[in-house]
């Protein structure tokens, strides 16, 4: 993913995927609830673009972006959301709990903080086995107030575990402004434990890559965990039922001016001389790909209840 255009393509894939999920939800083809990653693409793509084979990632219930950033098949992910047997988890997981072991996605966790615990444990394996791999936990700003956050950051630091904690601060804990429910600065918490901590523009994929590279290097070197706070914003509600009425006037428009795709387009033109038409072509290719993905997904069979499933491995 060294090619800057690949970063753009991956972010566009996530945005178009999420737009498609929203549309399929409204048509009744995606069930339950969804939490979309739209607006936060640079965070997941920037971090995952710096990982190696063998590294492990734990995402959240807002995890479609984490999965796609890691290279999970859009077809398998869409099929999972459509509840089909051909889904990444055979239709048993749905939107919030996707696992794709092959791509290093140890799981997306439907309960706030679960990703931190899972990545901490995965890092324990890497340390005890001396694999040289790292584990990454993605989580939101609201997670800073969970027990998982405090317990795992402390344990990871005293054990010098190779884990990178990525706090995607989108300013809102569900419907509530994060400052209303959080004492002090989130980044001050890992710093108090002596964990190297960076705050970065989470809508600038190149800035995220640079900061993630440093954090991952630190973890991989055996010196213990690192913490990255990516400052970002979600362009949609917390979940499918949330119109986002709590937003401050003008806030959404201001952030849309800093859309990670817009920023990436600008950077690609300025630093790599990529013509906008080339990027328009990528947009069109991705849109076409998603149309095919949905068509195939809607044609795929649902899982057979008679096939059952085994409670135990």
């Amino acid at each position: 993913m060294a090619d800057a255009r690949d970063l753009y393509r991956r972010m566009r894939l996530i945005r178009t995927f999420e737009d498609t999920v929203q549309s399929q939800f409204q048509q009744g083809n995606v069930h339950g609830t969804t939490h979309l990653y739209s607006g936060q693409e640079a965070s997941g793509v920037g971090v995952c673009s710096m990982l190696r084979d063998g590294d492990k990632v734990a995402g959240t219930y807002r995890g479609h972006g984490h999965a796609l950033a890691l290279g999970v098949s859009p077809q398998k992910l869409m099929d999972e959301l459509l509840g089909r047997a051909s889904g990444a988890c055979g239709g048993r997981a749905g939107s919030m709990n996707v696992v794709d072991v092959e791509h290093g996605l140890i799981g997306c966790f439907g309960i706030v903080g679960g990703s931190i615990g899972a990545a901490t444990g995965a890092a324990l394996t890497q340390k005890l086995r001396g694999t040289g791999a790292v584990a990454v936990a993605f989580f939101g700003d609201g997670t800073a107030n969970q027990a998982y956050f405090h317990e795992c950051l402390n344990w990871a630091q005293v054990e010098r575990l190779p884990v990178v904690f990525v706090c995607e601060n989108n300013l809102y804990m569900e419907f509530t402004p994060i400052e209303a429910v959080t004492a002090g600065a989130i980044a001050a918490r890992p710093m108090a434990m002596g964990i190297p901590t960076q705050k970065v523009d989470g809508n600038d994929v190149f800035a995220v890559r640079e900061a993630a590279g440093e954090a991952i290097d630190h973890a991989r070197s055996g010196r213990g965990p690192a913490f990255l706070e990516t400052l970002t914003y979600r362009f949609v509600g917390h979940s499918r039922s949330d119109p986002g009425r709590y937003r401050k006037p003008g806030e959404l428009d201001a952030w849309k001016g800093r859309d990670p795709l817009v920023l990436a387009r600008r950077a690609l033109a300025e630093h790599w001389g990529v013509e906008p038409e080339r990027l328009d072509e990528i947009d069109a290719e991705v849109a076409g790909e998603l149309e095919e993905v949905v068509a195939r997904g809607l044609a795929a069979p649902f899982p057979d209840p008679a096939a059952g499933g085994r409670e135990f491995a």
Partner: protein
């Protein structure tokens, strides 16, 4: 250790330690951690010496039960076989999100992509005047979670063989050790492992089936010995595991005795005894002349010795209830 009759014996806590050590010898993926388990050897002196034998594969942790359970989960799904000690079973609620929502669901919800082989060992049970928050049996919290196995041995020999099986099992297993059993001495296990989810008939008899698990099995065996003197012939079934639940063995026993009492150290409401009785009546009603439970009052566990002693099922109560239910309460002894 050796008994007077030449049978080799072992203390329960040593059997647990030796089971962990044997599996760590056998499989380098096995690691063991918890609060005060390494340098100090555990608050119940179960694990002294393991740190020295196995180095960094045995380590002490912060008091962070949720992180520890999640750490075991994350390690298990990436290639280790962690054994985690949660010091008192009463602390398990702190670990429950990871145990219930992560570990227990992983195999099934992932579409069977990867197993989650971990063991949570925990000391449970009353009888030591530890009070309401250090004496509980956590079975009602755990048994209703598909994907989780629940094991509770009654003897030192079984503890050894069941723990070795639990560590080899590809699923998350809650391994519950009754505090009042740590110092008991029993014959060593004749087998390396025992299958999880299989009950054992530990005493044969024809008049009534006594069913329990963990320390309750020993209470039932003592009650059975007392009842034998009154001419009542008890069969005793040790469930060994509470999930999976081996109802078939109990149904076979009930088909023979036609009477069953299930003894649980815990409340009736939401407990495993009442649940088992429900299954027995649904599937074996035609074989049943009588069926009941012996459980604890529906209150937290009290501290004072007089209160706690009265709270817990014991051999005398089991023997008395069986005698009454069989209509022999007024029969002359012998």
């Amino acid at each position: 250790m050796s008994g007077g009759d030449g049978v080799e014996t072992i203390e329960f806590r040593v059997a647990v330690r030796e089971a962990i050590a044997a599996e760590m010898e056998r499989d380098p993926a096995v690691v063991f951690f918890g609060e005060d388990v390494a340098a100090a050897g555990g608050v119940f002196a179960v694990t002294p010496g393991l740190r020295k034998r196995f180095g960094e594969r045995v380590f002490d942790t912060p008091i962070s039960e949720l992180a520890l359970a999640a750490g075991a989960f994350g390690a298990a799904v990436t290639g280790l076989r962690p054994v985690l000690e949660i010091m008192f079973a009463d602390f398990l609620p702190l670990a429950m999100d990871s145990l219930v929502n992560q570990a227990a669901k992983y195999w099934y919800v992932s579409g069977e992509q990867a197993p989650c082989p971990l063991v949570v060992r925990s000391a449970m049970g009353a009888g030591g005047n530890f009070g309401a928050m250090h004496s509980q049996t956590p079975v009602p919290w755990l048994q209703g979670v598909p994907g989780l196995k629940v094991v509770a041995p009654a003897t030192a020999g079984d503890a050894y063989a069941l723990l070795r099986a639990a560590i080899r099992d590809d699923n998350p297993v809650a391994f519950l050790e009754h505090k009042r059993l740590y110092s008991v001495v029993d014959p060593v296990s004749e087998v390396e492992t025992l299958p999880l989810g299989e009950a054992a008939v530990v005493r044969e008899g024809g008049d009534v089936t006594l069913v329990s698990v963990s320390k309750g099995v020993r209470d039932c065996l003592r009650a059975a010995a007392e009842l034998a003197e009154r001419g009542i012939d008890c069969e005793v079934v040790d469930m060994r595991s509470l999930r999976p639940l081996d109802t078939a063995t109990v149904l076979r026993s009930v088909a023979k005795t036609n009477r069953v009492v299930v003894v649980e150290e815990g409340p009736l409401i939401g407990g495993w005894a009442a649940n088992l009785l429900g299954i027995l009546t649904a599937e074996g009603l035609h074989d049943l002349d009588d069926a009941w439970t012996i459980t604890c009052p529906e209150t937290p566990i009290p501290y004072s010795p007089t209160l706690e002693d009265a709270f817990l099922p014991d051999p005398a109560r089991i023997a008395a209830e069986v005698t009454t239910r069989l209509g022999l309460a007024r029969a002359p002894a012998g």
